[in-house]
Symmetry: none
Subunit: 400 residues, 2 copies
């Protein structure tokens, strides 16, 4: 297996650190728009790693780089604006493809808070047939959320439930960053994108539909000492992926943003500062959202100042294998102190990064195989969860 990792930011750098401890692949080319950033990501690793520069917005450049290095698998670790050029570039090169976020949505032009427009991943699923026809695999949404959360859904359907009423991905943390008034622990660009888009919900009777941002707040009690956090509906890939492979009457995603973060996002939207279209300022043009990101500290650099734990998981409610009413929360917790000490990467990016490495290892061994555009829940869950545990990062389950 010869891997091209696109993006040497927070998640990409953590992928390198995690993969360096495994021997399932022969080589990994680490590409970034900024070659120095790619250099830094691979600097302490073994000879299997190479750093290069790459313009990820160019499918032709992605294809050429794949061909140059005989790449078999492309792992996309840049922000979702670049999903399509990397996805297309990998296809043209005959490589398999993995990502951790799917192609972007567009709200319904007339009824954005009721109906879906272009959904997350639609642009990718539209090409599923040609991926099947060429026998190649695009494993989409293979981070922690989406990713591990989808694996949990599949595990619940296979091993815990005979019928599922609701699958609700629930994400919460008690992370704090010392020394900053406000310092998101994950890319603000992506957080704005997912939180300000109309949240999508799937139900058996209505199919996919949308609501107002931040709808249906609930307090979810997270394990491992995190405790209760206010969660709201957010647009997320799991809602688009899970219903394709797992039977459930309803699928939701709620993010434990907390009231302060919700307020910040609402304000940015109100002032137009979430916009991605350039505005003229003096003699130059800039996208307001890029200015917001530039004013905040880089989340990848905050690990030393962060404290607390982050929890990703999937809550499932329905009928158990013996016909009893059952509800469980399947989850994965990372303590920032542990991930910094063990890997030198903060908890949120590390938790995202470990899952595609586990998936690549399952593909390398042939435990997972397939063709087409598939989500993590299209594959057997148990081997994934066992290998995740073998990586030293176990998961948990609570009856609710």
């Amino acid at each position: 297996m010869r891997i091209l990792l696109v993006g040497a930011g927070g998640v990409g750098s953590a992928v390198v650190s995690i993969a360096a401890r495994r021997d399932f692949f022969g080589s990994m080319v680490v590409a970034d728009r900024d070659p120095r950033r790619a250099d830094r990501a691979v600097s302490i690793m073994d000879g299997r790693f190479t750093a290069v520069g790459l313009d990820a917005s160019s499918p032709a450049d992605v294809t050429a780089l794949c061909r140059e290095h005989g790449i078999t698998h492309v792992l996309n670790a840049v922000d979702p604006r670049f999903v399509m050029p990397i996805f297309d570039g990998a296809y043209a090169a005959g490589a398999d493809y993995l990502d951790m976020a799917m192609s972007l949505s567009k709200p319904h032009p007339e009824r954005p808070h009721a109906e879906t427009g272009v959904k997350l991943g639609d642009d990718q699923f539209a090409q599923a047939e040609r991926w099947v026809a060429s026998g190649r695999l695009a494993l989409v949404g293979m981070g922690v959320e989406p990713g591990l959360s989808d694996v949990f859904a599949r595990y619940a359907a296979d091993e815990l439930f005979s019928e599922i009423d609701e699958i609700g991905v629930r994400d919460g943390a008690n992370l704090v960053v010392d020394g900053y008034d406000f310092a998101p622990s994950f890319s603000i660009w992506t957080t704005i994108e997912e939180c300000l888009n109309p949240p999508v919900i799937w139900s058996a009777d209505r199919g996919w539909h949308t609501t107002e941002p931040f709808s249906e707040p609930e307090v979810f009690d997270f394990p491992a000492g995190i405790g209760p956090v206010e969660c709201v509906n957010v647009e997320h890939e799991e809602v688009l992926l899970i219903p394709r492979w797992v039977g459930a009457k309803r699928v939701t995603f709620k993010y434990g943003l907390g009231s302060e973060f919700i307020d910040v996002l609402r304000t940015l939207h109100k002032l137009g500062l979430d916009g991605t279209a350039p505005v003229r300022v003096g003699g130059v043009s800039v996208a307001p959202r890029d200015v917001v990101a530039a004013c905040l500290p880089d989340p990848a650099t905050l690990g030393d100042r962060m404290r607390g734990k982050t929890c990703a998981g999937t809550w499932v409610r329905g009928t158990g294998k013996s016909g009893e009413p059952r509800a469980v929360y399947l989850y994965h917790v990372v303590d920032n102190e542990w991930s910094m000490r063990e890997y030198g990467h903060q908890a949120v990016v590390w938790q995202t990064a470990i899952n595609p490495v586990v998936a690549l290892e399952l593909l390398a061994s042939g435990t997972w195989s397939g063709s087409g555009v598939l989500g993590p829940e299209a594959f057997a869950a148990r081997p994934f969860l066992d290998l995740l545990t073998a990586y030293g990062s176990p998961w948990g389950m609570e009856e609710r």
Copy 2:
């Protein structure tokens, strides 16, 4: 009286419209950095008005223009960064001077939220002696707030109270701008500047001192249907002016920003988006505050879309002339619909502009006279309030 009006922006243009209906002056030269803007301001007026270009940052240019036109009174209607060059330029030309905002403050270097540093107007008052010595008048802070609010304080002291416990200027509005989620009716750049500076308070025991931004929130019930608005301490000239001429145990200024606006300002500050130092974004450098301004509509263009009223006023609490406990709110309300119809100027700029015109007329008639650097409360209040009413814009008073 030959007037030089510096600045043909929102307030300056409204000054021209108001003054054109009065015959107390012989001529008015309207100067702006952009001569076309000065042209537009005087285009429909009578032959007493002349438009010229002027660099207001140059005291020498101000002096030369005064001499060229035999100016007797300079009215400064540009932003407070230009107070000192215009003030100095007028002095050198032997002209009297009026402004609507005083020279800028600098926070205390070590204890910005407890002690004053350089206070608003300090640079002007430092030159008071030479204005007295040459028999010339600098009437500072002569808009609506500061300005009319100071006249109200003097009126209360002269005619309503035997002893004053507190004078609190309170400013509130119910203006809305149709078609926008969020559209300030005045410059967001300036609002950030004044609201994020440490607010100043005067008390008889501590003198001038400062607090945290947005301190001491209170809900003030404004008249004329505006109703209750949340007001917070803001740095403003009245607190520096009133205690110099009017006896009171405490002087404050609270601005009815409303909880939404306060929340926006706090969020901008929390994210560093209030900053004026450029940040790198992609290949360019921009000041975040300029990006915020660029994302919002230009307030000068919003008059036609605005609805509602703005209220400026002074709340006074103490002992009445007969020894009874008394509290009053002296106020002036402008309805945007009225000011747009009557003058073609939106309520906030029109309300600022009328007061220096009234003051100039009182100086022209000799009703007001003096020398040195003086605030509006250094002069008799009754003639001002009567002339304001005669202009068709009456004031009001409520017992509280």
